[in-house]
């Protein structure tokens, strides 16, 4: 591990612990921090340009993974209870034609929703969400203020998440 990173980790341990607790880790916060430490020790990361945000992001990702696997487990158990799919669906299996049609329909609907927001909002959203470009860079590229990009993103996200909720309940 880069010695710089380990020093930063030790110096900011209390802040990272506080973050993990606030993120809902509860009593596991110490263990998670230990996991982080092991991961950092295990791989040679080379120099990290912005070490503290990097460590925070790592902690945040750990929490997201935890939440994701818990949710997946819950959904599976629910599917079992409802008897939906007596045989566990293998995610690597080919998607059935019906499902693919539904997926295509959803894709088209999502495109339509995105398009209705107007080309600038669509461009901003794609650039940010799909290509992972930061808001400040997008604002520079388009010659608009950061606030405009932020508002565009919120608008696009709101529309896409609302559409997703609607699809999930259908």
């Amino acid at each position: 591990m880069a010695t710089g990173l380990s020093a930063i980790f030790m110096a900011n341990r209390p802040a990272l612990l506080r973050f993990l607790r606030a993120r809902g880790a509860g009593d596991d916060a110490e263990d998670l921090l230990q996991d982080m430490w092991m991961k950092l020790e295990a791989k040679d990361l080379g120099p990290v340009s912005d070490p503290l945000p990097y460590l925070y992001r790592m902690a945040n990702n750990l929490m997201l993974d935890r939440y994701r696997s818990a949710t997946r487990r819950e959904r599976r158990e629910q599917d079992w209870a409802e008897g939906a799919g007596g045989v566990m669906a293998d995610p690597t299996e080919d998607i059935a034609v019906d499902d693919r049609m539904v997926l295509n329909e959803q894709l088209n609907e999502a495109r339509a929703v995105l398009r209705d927001l107007g080309p600038r909002v669509e461009l901003v959203f794609r650039r940010f969400r799909i290509e992972g470009v930061g808001q400040r860079v997008i604002a520079d590229e388009l010659g608009v203020s950061l606030t405009t990009v932020e508002k565009d993103l919120q608008k696009a996200y709101r529309a896409m998440l609302t559409l997703k909720q609607k699809m999930d309940t259908e």
């Binding site: 809902g24 925070y56 992001r57 994701r68 894709l107 930061g134 388009l142 919120q154 996200y157």
Partner: protein
């Protein structure tokens, strides 16, 4: 219901430059419910991958383009609403005026229109355009394809209306295609501004813009490939075969159909246009890795090389 504050943090923490983790910690500590709202939205966000198609979006870098950039902030005031209102106003004005005339070419026919200001518009086959006798700087492409060689006048730019979009020249040779499903423009000389009152995307020579079911995209194009139909050629780089078929249909006055399997195929290369459809397809179909079969008045493109019946 979407928790707006949590959504704000989802967007911020997804930003590669985000650094206010202490502020985020403080927000999380303010209410234990914040963490679960954030988690739920982050999960929903990650699941968006399955239905937001990841097509490449390339934007012109404004820094290369100081002239346009300085004008941009003005254009942005009011944003899309103003642009929409302007387009509406233009359309209304067009509809109410009597000096608008329409030009239509038959499939396979090419026609050149010289406007009073010295601008030349070449209409490819199966194309409908409108012009204004009182305003030589106006043109509308309603369907089909046309190449524009524009005499530039900074004070009075030439504008082409294509559906809701406006292309404004900045000293230019460019080509526009409009089909039911898509609008595409390629620029071979000078520069065109797409929707100057809204997005104001600058397209210099060698850039192309497509607006279709996949959204709005900017990409590179070889200047020689722009409006190559005028030289009896069709030049493509990674274009869907369906687009090639549409272009061939317009230039040769044919109906082209294709089997569903063919629709996903893409083509890179140059096709020679030929008045004789049989000769054209004998040359073109193998280049696309396809075979062409005559079916009454139409030609069917299907998979596989060589003659098949």
């Amino acid at each position: 219901m979407i928790n707006e504050e949590a959504l704000g943090w989802v967007i911020q923490t997804r930003d590669p430059e985000f650094s206010d983790w202490e502020g985020f910690t403080a927000w999380l500590e303010a209410d234990p419910a914040h963490a679960s709202a954030y988690d739920a939205l982050m999960l929903a966000d990650s699941e968006l991958d399955s239905f937001v198609p990841s097509e490449p979006v390339a934007l012109p870098i404004a820094a290369n383009d100081p002239g346009v950039r300085s004008r941009r902030p003005l254009h942005w005031i009011g944003g899309g609403a103003v642009a929409a209102a302007l387009v509406a106003a233009v359309s209304l004005g067009v509809a109410n005026r009597s000096d608008i005339y329409s030009v239509t070419t038959r499939p396979g026919e090419i026609r050149t229109i010289a406007l009073d200001d010295g601008t030349k518009v070449e209409l490819n086959g199966d194309t409908t355009m409108r012009f204004d006798r009182k305003d030589a700087r106006f043109a509308a492409l309603d369907a089909g394809e046309a190449a524009f060689t524009v005499r530039h006048d900074e004070a009075n730019p030439f504008r082409v209306t294509v559906g809701d979009a406006v292309f404004e020249d900045a000293g230019t040779v460019f080509n526009i295609v409009r089909t039911k499903a898509a609008t595409r423009i390629g620029v071979s000389e000078g520069k065109v501004i797409y929707n100057p009152q809204a997005e104001a995307i600058a397209l210099p020579a060698g850039r192309a813009l497509a607006d279709d079911a996949q959204g709005l995209r900017v990409m590179d194009i070889a200047p020689a490939a722009v409006a190559s139909w005028r030289q009896g050629q069709l030049v493509y780089s990674n274009a869907p075969v369906t687009q090639v078929a549409e272009d061939a249909a317009r230039s040769l006055g044919l109906t082209v159909q294709f089997t569903p399997q063919v629709q996903a195929i893409r083509f890179t290369g140059t096709l020679q246009l030929d008045r004789d459809p049989a000769r054209f397809f004998a040359q073109a179909a193998p280049l696309m890795g396809l075979s062409a079969v005559r079916q009454g008045d139409a030609w069917l493109l299907k998979e596989g090389n060589g003659p098949q019946n």
